[in-house]
Symmetry: C2
Subunit: 347 residues, 2 copies
């Protein structure tokens, strides 16, 4: 069954509507819906509107706090800690990006460590918030464990995303937003459902042995083995160890655990470009670099060399016109959610 | 022919001696020799004492400045730019780490962008400098191009290293120091010399096609394809675009170009742990995390789960006792260097 195309506007209205029904204030509901739908627009549907079901159900059970009282402690001119009071991760991380930019505009760079937060969706939105204000934005988060350590056979680390966004002039922004596992577990699941094999460097079985039969996959592995393992640990350290949040294997599984609150930690940094050089000069330098990059000779079969973030931007332009494809499976879930809370899903 | 074992002390004395012969002040010569030999001790011989030949020859030709006048401009409380005046990269990057720690102790974090520098050897030394002062140290650098962009077939980016060092209590420090290519080109060269094949995800030929015959390898590829490509670009941006230094494909090849100075850029950041929490508390958190990690169930054939930096630390403990193995090829190069400058190589 082909996915239904739904406008971003209709998806945003739905998301905002259901979140408000469980006590999220209008402004926050709007922010969360916008951030979720931004992922749909960018083609990252795994972080899109379907998550509103998860969030609403957890809000309903009191596992996410709809009316958090943030407390931000500026510890030095360039760093601070934001206690998110168990808010929706989108609301707290956007607030952290605001504070990081504020600090950066003064100190040249600003780091905000976020504690007592929740899943924040895709990281790009917060990094782009910084970039819109002429900063380089960096966002990291840990997450519940799905990834084996290098040499280990049990899940220990999250897919620990890292995101960096940098402004350019005429070229699209640089926007790297990725999990540090070799692949997202979703890709393994998709291969299993489609009866396809997977490359041997993607996942391992219960005994830690590499598998090509996707149905036997138990955990995914770090990208590039020891290298991704190290980067993933760095992200975990920056996300949880500065604030004493739990790490990967101690983070509750948000889709499975309906008794306990999550205690998520994030790391948000802004670097004010204007502290180093005139912003327009920097953007010229970025354009020069990217023009050169895009003019590089290509491998056979490759039409174009892409800047990280460029594919997502193109999908966004298309989906803004045509609507976002929502899989029937997700539409059914959201229809049910809408029925339960009296907000009709627009398909 | 088995490598000769030489004590770190003797290697340091040699390095310091030859550098002084081409006008490097004693204190700087000592620093550079120490940093080079630290790589030998850690088992990273590609970044060790054999580089003294390269540096001395470039110094002799005036391509590296033995008596630089650094100018550090503190742009905001947390950021600054260090103009290295074409110094040895070790001297400037250590100075950058000093400044980054100074800024971090005040602003909570400190970034120093280094310009007009040279090859700095291995990054770990500078990050560890920060860690010894209870900071998280981050060091990045671009480099002359050896790596293809994702989808491209020509060299465009350096192997762009990233290093992060974090203190722990009883466990060894976390020390990630890696190139962002799938492998160092040296490994491909070694396979070619040994007549061994390489995995298809390591390198490409002149047409951008993956090769398993190492002798046909022209360039190495980013780790994990698009992911490593993005990380490598981020490092390039942070190392060169904030200060207007040339990027990968415009950086001179230090082993081949004997006419032009290099204009290297680095990015050094320190994060003061004490700005976020008591340092002892942080170290306890790191120990708790690493104890758990090291106790994780292992894959078959794996004796131990290692913390990034732990293998190098063990090699160092061994080599401090037994001496550093120097390949005959490198020993011959250094013997000749010693003869040319009247400083006998100790083997």
């Amino acid at each position: 069954m082909a996915p239904t195309l739904i406008t971003a506007e209709a998806l945003r209205a739905f998301g905002k509507g259901v979140l408000q029904k469980v006590g999220v204030p209008e402004e926050d509901a709007k922010i969360v819906a916008e951030i979720l739908v931004e992922s749909n627009l960018r083609g990252i549907d795994t972080h899109g509107i379907y998550l509103s079901n998860l969030y609403v159900r957890r809000l309903e059970k009191g596992l996410i706090n709809p009316n958090p009282r943030f407390s931000f402690e500026r510890k030095r001119s360039g760093v601070g800690i934001l206690d998110a009071d168990f808010s929706l991760g989108q609301v707290s991380t956007l607030e952290a990006a605001r504070k990081a930019v504020e600090l950066a505009k003064e100190a040249g760079t600003g780091i905000v460590a976020v504690k007592n937060s929740n899943h924040f969706g895709a990281a790009a939105y917060y990094a782009e918030y910084c970039t819109k204000r002429d900063c380089i934005g960096m966002v990291m988060s840990d997450g519940e464990c799905d990834v084996t350590p290098f040499g280990g056979r049990d899940k220990f680390m999250g897919t620990n995303p890292i995101c960096c966004c940098v402004p350019a002039g005429t070229h699209p922004w640089f926007c790297m937003d990725m999990a540090t596992s070799e692949v997202a577990f979703g890709k393994v699941r998709a291969a299993a459902e489609a009866g396809k094999t997977i490359p041997p460097n993607w996942a391992v079985d219960r005994n830690g042995k590499p598998v090509t039969d996707a149905t036997k996959a138990y955990a995914v592995v770090p990208m590039s083995g020891a290298k991704g393992y190290a980067i993933s640990l760095m992200i975990e350290i920056l996300s949880s160890r500065l604030t004493g949040m739990p790490y990967g294997s101690h983070i509750i599984r948000k889709f499975d655990d309906w008794e306990n609150r999550a205690f998520m930690g994030h790391f948000v940094q802004a670097i004010d470009i204007g502290a180093f050089c005139p912003v327009e000069e920097f953007k010229r330098r970025m354009d020069e670099f990217f023009s050169d990059l895009k003019n590089q000779p290509r491998m056979e079969g490759i039409d174009e060399i892409l800047i990280p973030g460029e594919p997502e931007l193109r999908i966004k332009m298309q989906r803004e016109k045509e609507g976002c494809p929502i899989r029937e499976e997700d539409a059914a879930l959201l229809r049910k959610l809408g029925e339960d809370f009296g907000v009709p899903f627009p398909a």
